[in-house]
Symmetry: C2
Subunit: 259 residues, 2 copies
DNA sequence: CGAATTATTGATATTAGTCAATATATGTGG
DNA sequence: CCACATATATTGACTAATATCAATAATTCG
């Protein structure tokens, strides 16, 4: 489905140096194969890990005693999954495969190594975390303050953006493995209301999402319905050192120059 | 109100070294004094900055065309405000003073310096960002999947936790400068429903929040109503380097040892 | 004191939820 | 390939929660 190597979340901020790419690849442990519906962990589990999502889709959700749940993030290949529970004693979120998927666990120690030896990668991971915060803020705002149809529209829009980013040339239907129950769980609605919203979106020729196939017919009207533009772009400019005297040479001057 | 210096978000992960504390203090620019209601910036504003909140409370919110808004975060002294828009071209969130407050802007360049020269502080800021993500996930779940009374309860609980953290010995009413309209904006409710929920919480002797004074009467029953325990603790263990052979000496071995 | 904001109350409207039945699609083993 | 079990989607009748609207009361602030 997605031909690119799943590092688009990281390489958006510029190409990685060889050793950075290597470190990032080697951070993860042995890959685990998941079938749709399989749990990686539950909310409340001790010593949560972070996972690198190699292929397929997984959801992160907050679950309730009565069986209700809220999906708080749908992860696509290349994402780091479970980071909100990083360095915590127990997991905040349940991780479950939405499609057959492959994830590779990342130990906290390897995260530490990455932060100590590759500060630029740390900077990128920090910025990506802020993207995720902005994403959650937006989802919270839409769930708290808009009608069902706009909530579903916002979900479709954000997925469409992210899939387009991974595969910019793609047109036509895309693989989006959520049941209507899961769409409801992601938008704070029931499966019944999710169903009605999808029907309205189809009928208004804005988007059709049936079974696991999603097609956006009219991006402009989708944006108009949802009432929000695309997410803002970010850069890594802030991390670059533009003041020459703050960029020390590899060896101290005294060892390489004659006085 | 709060006697501690406003660095509790950071110092929870251990004491800062002298140079770290200095760098953290010097990161911010000239403080700005705000009166209640004053805007620091609006959603969509270009070149957003981060702000260090020295005193008072501020809100971050997502605003809609029709005047509706969702408050996505209530910030207490010591918080960094506006970080979700860090390094973005336009701001994701509106920042507004909930009480008279003092904030100090932090330039992106100073953030860069901090990340380059103080990797342990970068690691702490990373972990704090994950705390915030977990917070947003929880709020999203409560707004999407619980009744009005539980949403208001969750808000009270999280504020109570955070205020207790800043001032563990405090008992009795606390200063919590939100109008009922603002409580509604934070929970995805109207001012009318927020009012009814507060009355029910008072009548059930769980908590009373009138005008800007909040008192939790029965923490246990509040937790029971909300149905969630306290947030999990986090550590900075992952950043410490415990494996000796992975901590290279300052000079390569070949230069310091005889073959 | 008086204006403005905030809180409270009640009547009514609307949205989305609940429940339950049926239809359709998917997957499995014989 | 079919028959069956299961999961998912669709529909309709009814209910409950919360919003909306509007009026009044209380509080704060200059």
């Amino acid at each position: 489905m997605d031909q690119r190597p799943p590092t688009c979340r990281i390489t958006r901020y510029g190409p990685l140096a060889h050793d950075e790419a290597l470190a990032f690849e080697e951070m993860a442990g042995a890959p685990m194969t998941l079938v749709r519906g399989q749990y990686v962990r539950h909310r409340g589990d001790a010593d949560p890990k972070v996972y690198f999502l190699r292929s397929g889709w997984v959801s992160c959700s907050v679950t309730f005693e009565d069986g209700a749940r809220q999906i708080v993030k749908i992860h696509l290949p290349g994402d780091l999954v479970g980071v909100p529970s990083f360095a915590a004693s127990v997991a905040s979120e349940t991780i479950q495969a939405l499609s057959d998927a492959v994830v590779a666990p990342v130990s906290n120690q390897n995260f530490g190594k990455l932060f100590r030896h590759h500060p630029r990668l740390a900077a990128i991971l920090f910025v990506v975390s802020q993207e995720e915060r902005a994403f959650l803020m937006r989802r919270l705002a839409w769930v708290g303050r808009t009608r069902s149809i706009q909530r579903v529209g916002e979900l479709i829009m954000s997925l469409h953006d992210r899939m387009s980013l991974a595969d910019p040339t793609h047109t036509g239907p895309m693989f989006a493995p959520l049941s209507q129950e899961e769409i409801g769980d992601a938008t704070g609605l029931t499966n019944v209301t999710a169903n009605q919203c999808l029907q309205e979106l189809r009928q208004r020729q804005i988007a059709s999402w049936r079974r696991f196939s999603l097609e956006v017919h009219d991006r402009a009207r989708l944006e108009e319905l949802v009432g929000i533009p695309r997410e803002a772009n970010r850069t890594l400019d802030w991390f670059e050192d533009r003041m020459p005297d703050q960029n020390p040479p590899l060896l101290p001057k005294s060892l390489t120059t004659m006085p």
